[in-house]
């Protein structure tokens, strides 16, 4: 993978993860001394699958990834399927630990992964599921209960909110899931591909809600392979390929470079196919 797109910044080892273009970013946000909320320092993650598939059963998911997340920014992570985007979020949320390197979170700050459908139990009502999901995301029972009427309203489920989730359409499920997830209150919000939910009307509503949170000073890490959405929502973007950071920089430029590389790869593959069939 080429690393020479501009303003491509390959993170190189354990020193400064975001070198040159940092100044530009700080200027953009209008504040000079931003607080690093979360820092990944040369982080690698690999595991043994037990089954001897390749490299003696060792899977390398992330390879020497370094990056910093600043207070109030929205950092996008893009890359193809299976390059380690979700794993990166899991490391940030503290669910997984790195095999090498360090994940540092600013003392007293919490990071939480915002994902859809926290183990929905189909036999339970939307209300019960929402209560449980809110508690699993760290709310007390009292807080969780106080969210319920908001969840019912935003998700537009009406009386179906009290019906078992197994009777929901997939759109209704998505609405419930997104709305429940939206109720999380944390310092760093880690979002994994969730804005592609429901019908067009709800998707727009979800995006607006997300945007208002982002502009409201929330620190966000946002994973998606929808390039336009990433451009629209993020300040800065990290491009991952095979567990490594290929590029990091202003959203528009990194996303454009990524889109171009995907397109080039597709054209190359097609040409190869044509050559092979001839």
């Amino acid at each position: 993978m080429s690393t020479d797109h501009k303003p491509v910044l390959k993170s190189d080892g354990d020193t400064a993860p975001v070198p040159v273009d940092d100044a530009e970013l700080v200027e953009e946000s209008g504040s000079v001394d931003r607080l690093a909320m979360l820092e990944l320092d040369n982080v690698s993650l690999s595991y043994h699958s037990g089954r001897k598939s390749f490299d003696h059963g060792t899977h390398h998911v992330l390879n020497e990834v370094s990056l910093q997340l600043y207070e109030g920014e929205t950092l996008g992570i893009i890359g193809r399927n299976g390059v380690g985007k979700t794993t990166l979020l899991r490391l940030m949320a503290g669910i997984l630990g790195p095999t090498h390197g360090k994940v540092r979170i600013h003392p007293g700050k919490s990071a939480s992964l915002l994902t859809l459908g926290l183990g929905f139990k189909p036999d339970l009502s939307g209300r019960d599921n929402a209560l449980l999901a809110a508690m699993l995301q760290g709310s007390t029972r009292k807080q969780a209960k106080s969210f319920l009427s908001n969840i019912q309203e935003f998700s537009e489920l009406g009386d179906s909110f009290n019906e078992p989730v197994k009777d929901y359409s997939s759109g209704m499920r998505a609405r419930l899931a997104f709305t429940t997830a939206l109720m999380t209150h944390v310092d760093i919000l880690l979002i994994d591909e969730i804005l592609s939910v429901g019908d067009a009307h709800f998707r727009e509503k979800a995006e607006t809600a997300m945007k208002s949170r982002i502009t409201g000073g929330q620190t966000v890490v946002f994973v998606s392979h929808m390039a336009e959405q990433v451009k629209k929502l993020c300040d800065r973007v990290v491009w991952l390929e095979h567990g490594k950071v290929v590029a990091m920089g202003p959203a528009v430029e990194v996303v454009d470079a990524y889109v171009k590389s995907v397109r080039d790869a597709r054209i190359a593959a097609r040409e190869k196919q044509v050559v092979a069939s001839n």
Partner: protein, 258 residues
């Protein structure tokens, strides 16, 4: 996560699981008591009717032992798989790993409460009296709960590390079913040394016998022995909590990737 919130969450998860479970069946919550009593019914058919046991109160003997054992066996089997089957959640939220077996243990506790009430009714209905000795059930139940909790935490960790342990655990539970004096009386082994040996080596045999001693024979259990079991499994529980706290990211990786 503060301890109280942890307990609240485990309790809510347990109740939700029970509610979901009950809503799936026409008979709903009735199954909680129906199932264990069907077991006793089968044992009665086999041991009393077919094999013709000579002991006069054999059915009560069997019911007490079996229904008390069910708490351990059901909870352990389910809790052992709890982290692995909670994989969907494990990858999404950062909660203590012990929450998964804890929720299962609470679920088992609520279920078992109904079973114990039915058992007490059965015992009283059969002509036994509730006496002051029954107060000894309180420490006995507490120690039994600690034992179940400690074993459940251990089981959940082991199965998370290697799925093979699930096989061993279900074999072990079956082994204990025959080794803990459910169908036979530890006190009538003939040789008092043998009785002592079984009771000392197998805490379950002691606990099940204690239930019978209290509910059927109006005799308090050996409190020193009971305290020793409580202390031993209490220590094991503490160690397990520490292991699960320190190794939560390792367990999460194991649950997600195996």
């Amino acid at each position: 996560m503060p301890f109280l919130q942890y307990l609240r969450l485990a309790d809510t998860m347990a109740r939700m699981a029970l509610r979901a479970d009950a809503s799936r069946y026409f008979l709903g919550y009735i199954w909680w008591v129906l199932e264990p009593f069907l077991w006793v019914g089968v044992f009665y058919l086999v041991f009393v009717v077919l094999l013709g046991s000579r002991e006069p109160n054999f059915l009560m003997f069997l019911a007490t032992g079996k229904l008390a054992f069910v708490w351990f066996s059901k909870t352990l089997s389910q809790a052992s798989n709890s982290i692995v089957s909670g994989k969907g959640l494990v990858g999404k939220i950062s909660v203590p790993m012990s929450l998964f077996p804890m929720a299962v243990v609470q679920e088992g506790l609520y279920r078992q409460a109904a079973v114990f009430v039915m058992l007490a009714a059965l015992v009283v209905g059969d002509g036994y009296a509730i006496t002051a000795t029954w107060w000894y059930l309180a420490p006995l139940l507490l120690v039994y709960y600690i034992l179940i909790l400690a074993c459940s935490f251990l089981g959940a960790c082991l199965v998370c590390i290697a799925r093979d342990f699930a096989q061993l655990i279900s074999l072990g539970v079956m082994f204990l079913l025959f080794m803990s004096g459910i169908f036979w009386d530890v006190r009538t082994l003939g040789d008092p040394h043998k009785t002592e040996l079984v009771m000392n080596l197998n805490p379950l045999a002691f606990i099940l016998d204690a239930f019978r001693q209290i509910m059927m024979y109006n005799t308090p259990p050996d409190m020193v022995h009971l305290a020793a079991i409580g202390a031993g499994f209490g220590a094991m529980l503490l160690v397990m909590v520490m292991i699960m706290r320190g190794g939560s990211q390792y367990l999460a990786l194991k649950a997600l990737t195996a």
